[in-house]
């Protein structure tokens, strides 16, 4: 019986399929004739397959059922026992055959065209296009078949399909796109599969609805069934969107982006994301954590974040994102490629109250700065974040001037020794950059307020990255990197230095000098790994002395790169270290001792310096922990992920 129906369908649509084949052949010839040979896309076969499948889709969907009704043949099926069921199967068989055959013919013609026009066929280049086309057909075709039953004319079927498919998948797709919802590939495949199954059911109910002769009844049944496709897809999308708006720290994919500490150390301003996607920047939201009680509340909507203090102060020279903040800035509703916020909120860092709200995308940190007063902000930043000097004053750099803020609040401004010569910060000093007129053996010492000329053995020390304190030594040609062991005064050629790579890790090996910096009391500190000692070098006396570690920590690498210029309220410099087993921790230096925190093998990032003895560390973007120097103690203050 099925064969009879298959024969009937084939007999009624074979001309259409032949016509599509001819159309593809004509397209192929036109391509060969018109397209420049060297500009033929390598996936031409795939695009021809898409053209073929599109032709078959539009042609067959418009005629399989509507054509039957238009020709007045539907009554034969309606009045013959079992004919509707068998006809449905036969129509589907022909539809699938037509789609596959036209895709196959199109692909073959495309490959032949490519071969004749440009070179050899390249199947692999078109796999992505073919996969997407196949998925689109899989999700769309059953619903399109259903829609085709609702119209007497085939021309209504395609717009109706677009409408229904847009309703089922378009609304979630737009929601996902706007809010960057974390939809995994498996979920998309599941949704397409679900659409196919429900679409097939809707197709049958629509087609079977025609047995009563009413297209309205067919449409009612088909639409009602299609709702089953909408419910879970909209539901999942809605739940994902809800998860973004309402942060749940117990969710397995909740992440912490970063945290700012309020000025009194009572409030922690945390930027989090509920949903994470490997390819997309996740939408963020914000929380305020009361460090005393441990309670938290969500403060921001979707796409909100707390900004580093440097954004507010307007200059990286005046701020340090790791020190407690008098003001915290939050932006809400960042949208689009221009990343313009819809509102800015100025928060009092001490108690979390909102001082002022700035509406509209035209509002910027500049407007906030103007509101607060730039001079006031600058003074706060200088007092709080300037480089601590031996006499208790703090140093800030402002364009070609140095600003010294005394402990009593008095300000003294001095011009740079050499005007606007380029420099890099290195510990408690400034290293002049290549190209400046300053001799490259000199380091500007802010305590002495003059350039310090280094001893010959370390004269070629350079501080290679803006926030690094790594020492490198050149040979006469200036192209090889060396390290120096300060105690023995032996310079060892280690590796060729390629400044473009900006890489220093290979140099930090073995027991050779791996790190040097100028301390606040103008000595050079060299850290070694094998005997856990620090060598203090005094350029005035050209002497080196060693001080022991107070903790038994074996360090294979010290990497202060990300934390340069970080200091505790008491003026200690802070760096991170890496143990041989891969665990990271933090070191606190002063002129006489080094103390380390606990260490962890996972991803740890310093978030804030709470006090002289405590820092706030983000572990694996999951936990905010309080770590103490000179102790293994660590306390979880906020945790996500259940």
């Amino acid at each position: 019986m099925l064969i009879l129906h298959l024969q009937k369908e084939w007999r009624e649509h074979r001309l259409m399929l032949f016509a599509f084949t001819i159309a593809l052949v004509v397209c192929s010839m036109l391509t060969l004739w018109i397209a420049p040979k060297n500009e033929m896309p390598r996936d031409l076969g795939a695009w021809f397959a898409v053209a073929g499948v599109t032709l078959a889709f539009v042609g067959l969907i418009s005629d399989l059922v509507p054509g039957e009704a238009r020709r007045g043949q539907l009554d034969l099926l309606r009045r013959t026992p079992g004919a509707m069921r068998t006809s449905f199967v036969a129509k589907w068989a022909l539809l699938l055959f037509g789609l596959i055959a036209c895709a196959g013919v199109g692909f073959a013609l495309g490959e032949i065209t490519w071969s004749l026009g440009a070179g050899t066929p390249a199947l692999s280049d078109g796999l992505v296009v073919l996969t997407w086309a196949a998925l689109a057909m899989l999700g769309c075709t059953p619903l399109a078949f259903a829609c085709s039953c609702w119209f007497g004319r085939g021309s209504g079927a395609i717009p109706a399909t677009a409408l229904v498919f847009g309703l089922v998948a378009g609304v979630p797709a737009v929601t996902i796109s706007i809010y960057r919802l974390p939809i995994e590939a498996e979920t998309v495949l599941g949704a397409i599969g679900w659409c196919s199954i429900i679409g097939l059911l809707a197709a049958w109910r629509s087609f079977n609805g025609l047995r009563f002769g009413s297209r309205w009844m067919s449409a009612k049944r088909g639409l009602a069934t299609s709702l089953f496709a909408i419910v879970p897809i909209w539901g999942i999308t809605g739940m994902k969107a809800w998860d973004l708006f309402v942060f749940d720290p117990t969710s397995s994919d909740a992440r912490i982006f970063g945290a700012c500490l309020g000025a009194d150390g009572e409030k922690l301003y945390i930027t989090v994301s509920r949903a994470w996607h490997r390819d997309l920047e996740p939408p963020m939201t914000t929380l305020v954590l009361d460090l005393e009680s441990g309670s938290w509340e969500q403060t921001g909507g979707l796409a909100s974040a707390y900004l580093p203090a440097a954004t507010l102060t307007g200059s990286s020279y005046f701020g340090d994102n790791l020190t407690p903040m008098d003001y915290v800035l939050r932006h809400d509703g960042v949208r689009g490629d221009r990343r313009e916020a819809q509102s800015w909120h100025l928060i009092d860092g001490r108690d979390g109250t909102e001082i002022q709200r700035f509406e509209g995308s035209s509002a910027t940190p500049q407007a906030v700065r103007e509101f607060l007063g730039f001079d006031q902000l600058r003074d706060i930043a200088r007092r709080r974040n300037g480089m601590p000097l031996l006499d208790g004053s703090r140093l800030s750099v402002m364009q070609d001037h140095l600003v010294f803020v005394a402990a009593d609040g008095g300000t003294q401004t001095e011009r740079w020794p050499e005007g606007d010569q380029p420099f890099l910060r290195c510990g408690a000093g400034f290293r002049w950059l290549e190209g400046s007129r300053i001799p490259d053996r000199a380091v500007y010492d802010p305590n002495r307020r003059r350039n310090v000329h280094l001893d010959d053995s370390i004269a070629d020390v350079v501080f290679v990255r803006g926030r690094d304190w790594v020492v490198r030594q050149y040979d006469a040609g200036g192209s090889d990197a060396q390290t120096a062991q300060l105690r023995s005064r032996l310079a060892t050629r280690l590796a060729r230095w390629n400044p473009d790579r900006n890489e220093f890790a290979p140099l930090l090996l073995g027991n050779r000098l791996s790190l040097a910096m100028i301390t606040a009391d103008q000595r050079v500190i060299a850290l070694t790994e094998d005997d856990r000692t620090i060598v203090l070098y005094d350029p005035d006396t050209d002497s080196a002395t060693a001080i022991p570690f107070e903790q038994e920590i074996r360090i294979s690498r010290i990497s202060p790169a990300n934390y340069a210029w970080v200091h505790s309220p008491g003026g200690h410099l802070i760096a991170s270290f890496l143990e041989p087993n891969g665990a990271s921790g933090f070191l606190r230096f002063d002129g006489e001792s080094v103390q380390a925190t606990a260490s962890d093998r996972r991803d740890v990032r310093l978030q804030a310096v709470i006090s002289n003895d405590e820092i706030l560390v983000l572990v694996e973007q999951r936990r905010l922990e309080r770590w103490r120097f000179g102790s293994e103690q660590r306390e979880v203050v906020f945790e996500t992920g259940g």
């Binding site: 019986m1 009879l4 009937k8 007999r11 009624e12 020709r71 007045g72 043949q73 539907l74 009554d75 034969l76 309606r78 009045r79 013959t80 026992p81 079992g82 004919a83 068998t86 047995r211 009563f212 002769g213 009413s214 009844m217």
Partner: protein
């Protein structure tokens, strides 16, 4: 168990609506086994709609319909195995020939009798190698009639089988119907405008007007005579009379 007196098709308060249009209203009908019932009425009176209800091709909006004591909606396939249906115009694909249509239908009917089909086709000279689209209306209607008998249905529903036929073709189609009547214990329900043919065929007559069943009975009951030659004239008179009654009723209801 059904007896020969049992009705093969009954309707109770049957109503069908198409949107705001009422096609059938409160139709109570009983079609007895072995009889020929002719449905008469003007265009749009609901004759075809009534037949389609029996086939389960339309869902009633009110009342019920039972064919062989089955519901045509829920037991549609089973009923269609026992009912032959001839549409008012051929609904087979025009490219099909008689033999194609035979092969197509044969697969759907459990009781298909190809020998009977061949015999009827030979007797009434049905063209076997002509596409249905190329047949004359009379040939196509004969083809549909012959094929409607192919599964030996106890109930045959004919929807305007004589419409638009020339006198010769009409006689030929009528001959097929009469042959069917002679050879099988068929129950036939036939819609037609052809009053003379109706008088020749009918045991009972049902008159529909504006979706209502206004008369149903034997020829003698409805027209006062079962004399075939006199019937058409009386039929016309009766229809005119009914029409004027209905018109008066409508005007009264408007007032």
């Amino acid at each position: 168990m059904t007896t020969s007196e049992d009705p093969v098709w009954t309707t109770e308060q049957l109503g069908v609506r198409f949107g705001r249009t009422t096609a059938l209203r409160e139709v109570d009908l009983e079609i007895a086994r072995g009889q020929v019932t002719v449905l008469l009425g003007p265009n749009g009176s609901g004759k075809s709609t009534l037949l389609r209800c029996a086939m389960g091709m339309l869902r009633p909006s009110a009342g019920s319909s039972q064919v062989f004591e089955r519901d045509p909606i829920t037991d549609a396939d089973e009923i269609r195995q026992q009912v032959g249906y001839v549409p008012d115009r051929p609904d087979a694909p025009p490219w099909m020939k008689f033999k194609d249509l035979c092969r197509f239908l044969r697969g759907h009917y459990r009781t298909w009798d190809q020998r009977l089909v061949d015999e009827l086709a030979d007797r009434f000279d049905v063209p076997r190698s002509t596409k249905i689209g190329s047949m004359s209306k009379g040939q196509a209607m004969k083809t549909m009639l012959v094929l409607a008998n192919g599964h030996r249905p106890p109930l045959l529903l004919l929807d305007e089988p004589f419409g638009g036929l020339d006198p010769i073709s009409r006689d030929e189609v009528c001959a097929v119907v009469l042959t069917t009547l002679q050879s099988e214990d068929h129950t036939i329900v036939c819609c037609t405008h052809e009053l003379e043919l109706a008088a020749r065929l009918a045991d009972r007559v049902a008159i529909l007007d504006s979706g209502r069943l206004v008369e149903h009975g034997t020829l003698a009951d409805v027209f006062g005579s079962d004399e075939p030659t006199a019937t058409p004239q009386r039929l016309k008179e009766r229809l005119r009379q009914k029409e004027s009654e209905l018109t008066d009723r409508k005007e009264v209801s408007r007032c």
